[in-house]
Symmetry: C2
Subunit: 116 residues, 2 copies
DNA sequence: TTGACATGTAAGTAAATAGTTACATATAAT
DNA sequence: ATTATATGTAACTATTTACTTACATGTCAA
């Protein structure tokens, strides 16, 4: 599943399906820079991963999104979300400290200017 | 980058690095079911993707986490998070309706029992 | 029913991936 | 100085991936 969305072509396809559900194969092909078969195979991979479902209507195949499996990625990411927030906090703190230093040296300069 | 974490061995390695930063190559190897070179190559991929950084100290190489690039995955996922919550809501609603129906038929049964 | 259109299957290919063994180098410890 | 430890590099192999072209089937529409 992770591998299914690791490919940027497949992510684009999934985004496309999500934006407008019920598209046919040929409609989806139009947005991709490759042969119909290539697109079909990517869609097969997405379906295999459970990220899209298909329904056959007459001679065409319609594609629908199933976002469910993506929760797995989300929950894996969960543990790391904390980490980059921590980093962000540290960075913010650093910026604050830098600004304090700047303010301090500015004040010193003002004082010096006043003395002169 | 997506491809770097698409592999479950690499995800495990990354989790391992995250849990205890500053581990050496051989320490990390201990947790993996493959040769040292195999592990090294996976770590190289993770480093290439910017997910870990390394520092050489003496004869050993220490590994540190950099969670930053994972934000890209998080933000890509963002658009879909809404989707599965919607689905969840619909499901909940369905459950509520079902329970109402059950309550209704239960009441009907009570009434019938009372009549009898 | 015949032609056009949408999809499906088979088979082949070039390149990337995931792993290996064998050997080389650099540093620490005795 | 020698030996053991930690890492690095090279070269090779098997499998998977990401495509392709050529052909087959199924369905709509005139």
């Amino acid at each position: 599943m992770f591998k299914a969305v690791a490919d940027h072509h497949r992510r684009r396809l999934l985004d496309w399906v999500a934006r407008d559900e019920g598209q046919t194969l040929t409609e989806l092909c139009a947005s991709m820079p490759m042969s119909r078969i290539g697109v079909m195979k990517h869609l097969d991979v997405l379906e295999e991963a459970g990220l899209i479902t298909t329904r056959k209507v007459g001679r065409e195949r319609l594609h629908y999104l199933n976002p469910e499996p993506l929760r797995e990625i989300d929950s894996w990411l969960g543990g790391y979300r904390r980490r980059w927030e921590e980093r962000m906090d540290r960075l913010e703190e650093l910026i604050n400290r830098t600004q304090e230093t700047e303010r301090a040296s500015e004040k010193a300069k003002e004082k010096k200017d006043a003395e002169a």
